[in-house]
Every structure is written in structure tokens, then in C-alpha cells.
Amino acid sequence: MLWVDKYRPKTLDKVLVHQDIAQNLKKLVTEQDCPHLLFYGPPGSGKKTLIMALLRQIFGASADKVKVENKNWKVDAGSRTIDVELTTLSSTHHVELSPSDAGFQDRYVVQEIIKEMAKNRPIDSKGKKGFKVLVLNEVDKLSREAQHSLRRTMEKYSASCRLILCCNSSSKVTEAVRSRCLNMRINAPTEGEIIKVLEFIGKKESLQLPPGFAERIAHQSNRSLRRAILSFETCRVQQYPFTSNQAIPPMDWEEYISEIASTIFKEQSPKRLYEVRGKLYELLVNCIPPEIILKRLLYELMKKLDSELKHEIAHWAAYYEHRLRLGQKAIFHLEAFVAKFMSIYKGFLIETFG
């Protein structure tokens, strides 16, 4: 079992980061009146962990027994029927799904499937009418229409069903949905908190941590706890006992991008651009999301630039990333960014060095 899963805190009392949020959540559910919740925060900040711990707090141990199901739905949409296939994760008390997986049909998922699930009202052990919890992932990736339909569903079935929404950025969730939920901002853990967690795991695994080692992992993780734990485990597999100057292996793709950056810096010519294109394709076919490539590339390029140029490059990165979202083919925009950078950089070189 990966350490990320092994040391995921199971209850609200055991969480190491976001203790204040956990205590507030506990207070919230013990009063037996749970509103809809919206968790938002950057990846690797512990949203999912908190949600799972919260479910356990509400329903007890039975919330842990989840089964994965691949379900097919036939949705009747006026003149034709639409087949929707979705993977759900469910226990007796909750259902978890990512409606955005259905692509442009996400609206039907929200309208029909959630409605269907929300209608069945469970009865708890005391014979009282309980409520069911629906966990929806990646609500920020839902289309506008789907978010609007979600709003209706939330109101209509609020007696029998609580929604827990989970997303990265709350600005992509419409105001109407946001105002119906209790918003929980989950910030990324600070480096200090990450170090604390790493030391905790080290102690549990009875590992010797050389001084400064956890700090370096935390620093490289970009404040993502998941990444920190993963690279900690990678280090463990590579070499144990740890040495204090042991290199922390960067992710393959990050290394690859930094290679691309140095290629770009060496020479700015159409021939190089062609080479870079091949490398970008390589990254894309390995399922690295284009916006992540662009961001990382920007980061690598920024390292070696004058501040004057940084402004300009930051602007173009934002410009091409926006176009990338609107467009179809990512490679065009990535390559356009590289070409733009080359042209600016070359101009800069010619001006300064003649």
C-alpha cells in the first residue's frame, strides 16, 4: 500500500494539517444539521481526506465500506435517449461521482442521475428518516448548464440529500451554487506542516531522517502534501538509509521540461522549434495536461530571464494558455508560445549583444 493511502487520516480527530477546519466540521455534524458543503483548494491540500473523514464522522465505520461500480444510465431527453456511463463509488450512506467525466453530457448526469439517487431516502437505524450524501468531484469542470441544473436539484431534494462538492477553484463555480453551500477553503499545507507529516510517517515506519532531508522534500513539493509523501516514498525505495545529501528525484516530466527549456535557450531557430515540437508531443501522448506543461515551462524559462523580459513572457504565457482552453489542439498553442518566446528572446539578445 502506498504511504499516501496508508497514512491518510481516517477520522477528523487524527488529521495533522487543517486541525481547526476538522474541529469545525466535527462541531457542524454533531449538531445533526449538515448543510451542503463546498470544499475548494489546490491539489494535494487534503480536501478528499477531510471529506472521507467527515463521512466517517457522520455515519460511522460503515462509510468506509465502499464499492466501485460502473453504471450505465439511459436518460430520456425528449426525442432521443442518451446513454451515460459513469463510475461511482458508493457505500450504504453515500455516493461519490465525478459528473464531469460524462463530458458534454454532464447536464444529464446532474439532472437525471443525481435526482434519481437523491429521491431514494434512506431510513436510519432508529427508524428516523436520515439523509444521503452525494459527493461530487471536480464541480469546477462542469458546464454552465449543468451547474444551473445542480442548483435546482440542491433545493428540491435538500431534505433527503446533502451534497458535498469538491473543486480546485471556486471562481469556476457559479455564484448561485456557491451561495447555497457552506464554503470551506482548504489551503495547501505550509512547508512546516508538510515536514511535520513527513516526520510523523518517518517515525511510524521507523526510518532515520537526516537533518534537513524532510525540509528539502517539502520545498520541492510545491506545497502539495501528496507529492511530498510520494517523493518521500520514492527516496525510501531508491536508497536507505538516507544520506543527508541524497538527491530527491524530480518527476520525469519535470526533468523533461527543464531539458526542453535549456534546448530553447541554446538556440532560437526553426530547426530547434521543430525539435521542441517533437518533445512536446512526447509529453502530450504521455497524458501530461497541456496547461501543466505550459506552467512548468514558464517556470523553467523564468529562472534565467531578466525581470524586464519576465513581464513580457508572463503575459504571453497567460495569453496562450487562455487560447489553449478555447481551442481544440493543445500542440498549436504550446508551440506558438515557444515560438513567441524564441522571437522575444532572440530580439533581446540581438539588442543587448549586437
Binding site: S169, L182, N187, R223, A318, E321, H322, I350
Partner: protein, 216 residues
């Protein structure tokens, strides 16, 4: 409603005027087509004054047994921007999470408004003219999970209200804000957009050239 729908409504209103009365509610009278507006008696609702709002809030607090100090009350009225429903929602959220005595910090954390010092930190980084500092602040904002659109609107408030920024500079900054806001709505990346805004604001505040021109 679309203009077509409003036009269709016009006919319906006339045909059934004997048996049916219509009540329309809207946010902007300018978006109601003229023929429709002329058929109705208009009532304008002003935004609630701060006094009425705080009276209502205090009434709710008394009924629910909540403890709200005067600082929290003024915070509540400023973050809800004259919207009583929003104010009550925030109040309820805070009461659920933090119990019966509510401070202004609790209200801010419930409402999703970014604390003043975070916005000021980014603003002063922009003022300093140091790109790396601004980059660090932007990274921090994103890592803390503050929504970029909220950041934009609060930063905008600060910039428009400050007296030592010339109109010309303000115009330059606001233009970029508008562009970035549109990009964000279309789903662009928050970090990159915010960085672009910060860099542009910095250039405007420090009177650096807008475009980098090399040799031509």
C-alpha cells in the same frame, strides 16, 4: 429573458389583460424592452441602507441568541455589499461553524472574502516593482486557495480608491483587469492570469513601458 421572449410576452399581456395581472421582477430595468416597460407601473427598489441592514441583523442575532460585536457587524455589512440575503447566509454559516459568538474573522472565513492583509501584500508587491516578489505572492494566493476572481475584485477596489495613482495608470490597470476577468470566466488558468495582472499592474504603477520593444 431574451428580447424575443419579451416581445412574445407583450402580446400575451395584452390578450389576457382582463383576467390576468403580471408582476415582473428584474435586476436591471435597462434590460427590459421599452414596449414591455411602458405597459407596467414601475417600482424601484433601492439597495438597503446600512442602518436598515444592521437593524435586521441585530434582530436576528437577538432571536437566535448570537453574540455579534460592533466590529463584526461592520465587517458583515461591508462583505455583503448591501445584500441582506447574503448577509444572513454568512451569518448562519458562521453561527453553524463557530458557535454563538462570532468575530469578524469568522465571518470573513465563511464568506470567502480574502483577508485585507493578503490583498495588501500582493498590492505592495506590485508597487515595489520586483517581479519575483509579485510572483511569490501570486503563488501564495493560489496555494492558499483564494479564488482569483475574488482577488481581482478586491484588488480592483483598492486600486480605484487609492488617491496617489493617476487616472492614466488606473485606466491601464483596469483594462487588464477586464481582460483577465473575461479569460477567467472562459476557464483560463488562475495562476497565469493573476500573474499577468500583477505584472501589468506593476508596470503601470512604476511607469515602466507597457510593451517590451527590442531595437525597432
Amino acid at each position: 429573458m431574451t428580447e424575443d421572449a419579451q416581445n412574445a410576452l407583450r402580446r400575451t399581456m395584452e390578450t389576457y389583460s382582463k383576467v390576468t395581472r403580471f408582476f415582473f421582477i428584474c435586476n436591471y430595468i435597462s434590460r427590459i424592452i421599452e414596449p414591455l416597460a411602458s405597459r407596467c407601473a414601475k417600482f424601484r427598489f433601492k439597495p438597503l441602507t446600512e442602518e436598515i441592514m444592521s437593524n435586521r441583523i441585530l434582530y436576528i442575532c437577538k432571536e437566535e441568541g448570537l453574540n455579534l460585536d460592533s466590529e463584526a457587524l461592520s465587517t458583515l455589512s461591508s462583505i455583503s455589499q448591501g445584500d441582506l440575503r447574503r448577509a444572513i447566509t454568512y451569518l448562519q454559516g458562521a453561527a453553524r461553524l463557530f458557535g454563538s459568538s462570532i468575530s469578524s474573522k469568522d465571518l470573513i472565513s465563511v464568506s470567502g472574502v480574502i483577508p485585507e492583509d493578503v490583498v495588501q501584500a500582493l498590492f505592495s508587491a506590485c508597487r515595489s516593482g520586483n517581479f519575483d516578489m509579485a510572483d511569490k505572492e501570486v503563488k501564495n494566493v493560489i496555494a492558499e486557495g483564494y479564488p482569483a476572481s475574488q482577488m481581482l475584485s478586491q484588488l480592483y477596489d483598492i486600486i480605484v480608491e487609492s488617491d496617489d495613482i493617476s487616472d492614466d495608470q488606473k485606466a491601464r490597470i483596469c483594462k487588464k483587469f477586464a481582460e483577465a476577468d473575461k479569460c477567467l470566466v472562459e476557464g483560463a488558468d488562475e495562476y497565469l492570469q493573476l500573474l499577468d495582472v500583477a505584472s501589468n499592474t506593476m508596470r503601470a504603477l512604476n511607469n515602466m513601458p507597457q510593451e517590451y520593444s527590442f531595437g525597432n
